[in-house]
């Protein structure tokens, strides 16, 4: 009763000054407001009630063929008037205007790798939405089905991550939000989740910079325990990649690679097809050789209950799938699905003796192609940048390349994964496909790769689900696909014109 009375009166009083002449308030109270006093209601509630939310952000992987890319600096949090809340300057979630600078979106810059930041933060909670279930219900378009939103997906992922961590809600003192297609600002999301963070940032979108950025901020003492939330409601708005503008984007923002539109060239598929033709010619390989990547990832997905693709794939299935951009088939391309991921990241010294072994973030690196882009992307397949970023990452972590026992690479397309496997040196140039065939990259092989099915057969969560898989593997909780005795994993989750590896260790 007390909650219902005070809560309703509080909200009413806040609304009164904003009401027009002759308008009225009807109050309906329920116990759903339980715990309201822990939530920072004032402005957040008003924003949610009065203003429509959802601000589109552009996927930052769409940058590379677009001429000269700008590198916006990550927005740093600043205190705003209300001392209990943080606010990011400018319109949260919006990147720089698309235009001559290219499609950079809200890019999260990777903080410079430094040994002082090694193992300072750990992933101690993971939560994912029901990728497979949501994918199939979106495709069947059940009558009356409510489209998934960034908010609803984020709540599910967060609650699961919180439960997984074994922490109390009050232990979370930071929030970071990374949306692909928009979502509420971090303060609103915190209110929605019942959090009162002292640190709240909008943090890029795809898994390139967000994790190192939060680890560096934890090391700097800005927060102890951060809920990192990623959400993509792509299928809900009918997103497709390529064409003059993104379908479903009301702003009419030009799609990626827009410079080449007059020649009909756009999309990730087009880029990887161009890289792939060169690669197959260079090493005398065929489309059947390339099929090995998709076939192995499908096998991995069959061992992951939350993977979207659930039927075995044969070479005949691969050959029969339609071309998207020749030589790439539909089955070479990643999925498009809705979902959210939450990672709870905590100061390492507070991460011992929790529900699960902590997974330490040990090192990272970043290198981007600056010159002669088409040459480096197509003929060198980004190898110089991948090698440079790997060297930074290993130096920061104090690790040897040979210690890496598991690799999660960003598989926007099969060819994308091949460039990373060979670029990092897990296979010599031209040999990755043969080694897929021999099983070297299977869960029981020499170097297991994308063990949950990656984004081609698992779920397209812009690399975030691949970090979740690393956590499961390093906890030794990956079930039938578990890599025995695993101690160190590498992820490479990035744009096609840059390399951003992150190295993880199993905590003591």
């Amino acid at each position: 009763m007390k909650v219902n009375f005070i809560g309703t009166r509080y909200l009413t009083e806040l609304l009164l000054p904003r009401m027009a002449e002759g308008s009225a308030i009807g109050s309906i109270a329920s116990t759903a407001a339980m715990g309201w006093s822990r939530v920072n209601t004032s402005a957040a509630v008003l924003d949610a009630v009065i203003q429509p939310i959802g601000r589109p952000a552009k996927p930052e992987e769409q940058v590379f063929f677009s001429g000269r890319d700008q590198q916006p600096v990550r927005e740093l949090p600043q205190r705003c008037g209300n001392q209990r809340r943080w606010r990011t300057p400018g319109p949260a979630g919006d990147g720089p205007p698309a235009g001559a600078g290219g499609m950079t979106g809200n890019r999260s810059r990777v903080p410079p790798p430094a040994c002082a930041l090694r193992d300072k933060a750990a992933i101690i909670g993971i939560g994912e939405t029901d990728y497979a279930e949501d994918y199939h219900s979106a495709r069947t378009r059940a009558p009356g089905a409510i489209p998934l939103t960034a908010e609803s997906l984020s709540v599910t992922a967060f609650e699961r991550a919180l439960a997984d961590s074994g922490l109390r809600r009050a232990d979370i003192d930071g929030i970071s939000v990374s949306y692909i297609y928009g979502g509420p600002p971090p303060e609103e999301m915190a209110s929605l989740l019942g959090l009162q963070p002292r640190y709240a940032i909008t943090n890029g979108n795809i898994m390139a910079g967000p994790l190192p950025a939060v680890c560096a901020d934890i090391a700097a003492g800005k927060a102890d325990t951060v809920a990192m939330i990623y959400a993509a409601a792509s299928r809900a708005i009918g997103r497709q990649y390529g064409g003059q503008t993104y379908t479903g984007d009301q702003a009419g923002t030009p799609a990626s690679y827009y410079y080449y539109h007059p020649w009909g060239f756009s999309s990730q598929a087009a880029h990887w097809a161009m890289v792939c033709t060169y690669y197959l010619n260079q090493f005398g390989l065929t489309e059947d050789d390339l099929a090995e990547v998709a076939i192995q990832l499908r096998k991995n997905a069959l061992l992951n209950p939350n993977a979207i693709m659930k039927t075995p794939m044969t070479l005949a299935d691969y050959r029969a799938s339609r071309y998207i951009v020749r030589p790439l088939h539909l089955l070479d391309m990643c999925l498009v699905n809705d979902g959210a991921v939450c990672l709870i990241v905590r100061k390492a010294e507070l991460s011992r003796h929790l529900a699960h072994p902590a997974v330490l973030v040990s090192g990272w690196g970043e290198a981007e192609v600056k010159q002669n882009k088409l040459h480096v992307l197509v003929r060198e397949r980004l190898r110089p940048q991948i090698q440079e970023s790997l060297a930074q990452c290993l130096a920061m972590a104090g690790a040897e390349f040979s210690e890496i026992g598991h690799f999660e690479g960003y598989d926007a397309a099969s060819m994308h994964l091949v460039t990373q496997i060979e670029g990092f040196g897990f296979a010599e140039p031209g040999t990755a496909l043969a080694r897929f065939r021999s099983g070297d990259f299977s869960p029981g092989g020499l170097l297991p790769v994308n063990t949950a099915g990656g984004m081609i057969s698992g779920a397209y969560m812009h690399g975030w689900n691949q970090v979740v898989e690393i956590v499961r593997q390093l906890r030794h909780e990956a079930g039938p696909r578990q890599i025995k005795g695993l101690q160190m994993s590498l992820s490479s989750l990035a744009q096609t014109d840059a390399s951003h590896p992150i190295l993880y260790r199993r905590g003591a």
Binding site: H261, P262, W263, G264, Y278, N281, Q282, P327
Partner: protein
């Protein structure tokens, strides 16, 4: 006025306009750095190699070799360009890689290193008619 094929919109504006104006005269010119002598493509404000802003529009021979290719079989442009259609990556004699379309051949005839030469295709986008640089077999 004869009907010409429609194409998705060009990027226009300072610098970009110069490229298309030369194309309209039937010649391809690219920005060449007055400091280091290298060609830059796509259109830039400064040389991608040395950073110099001293870029001049210099003619290129239009001769090149085929580096790679791909074929769109999915209709990303709502029918503006009928599928399937090819894209090619051409290494121009002067150095830069130029992304274009094949004229008079498809992926079936494409061979790595094959010699190609520049030609123009009259097209139209929402800004009007223009000449699109494409490449044919020598």
């Amino acid at each position: 006025m004869n009907l010409v094929p429609k194409r998705p919109n060009r990027t226009l504006g300072p610098g970009h306009d110069s490229f298309w104006e030369y194309c309209a005269k039937g010649e391809m010119r690219l920005q060449c750095c007055g400091a280091c002598g290298k060609f830059t493509w796509p259109v830039a404000q400064a040389c991608e190699y040395c950073g110099s802003a001293e870029l001049r529009w210099e003619p290129v021979s239009g001769k090149g070799r085929l580096v790679s290719w791909s074929t769109f079989e999915r209709d990303y442009y709502q029918g503006v360009i009928p599928i399937p259609y090819g894209n090619i990556l051409v290494e121009l004699e002067e150095g830069p890689l130029f992304l274009s379309n094949p004229a008079g051949f498809t992926w079936r005839e494409a061979v790595p290193g094959m010699k190609v030469k520049l030609t123009f295709l009259a097209c139209e986008d929402s800004a009007g008619r223009f000449e699109l640089p494409v490449f044919e077999r020598v």
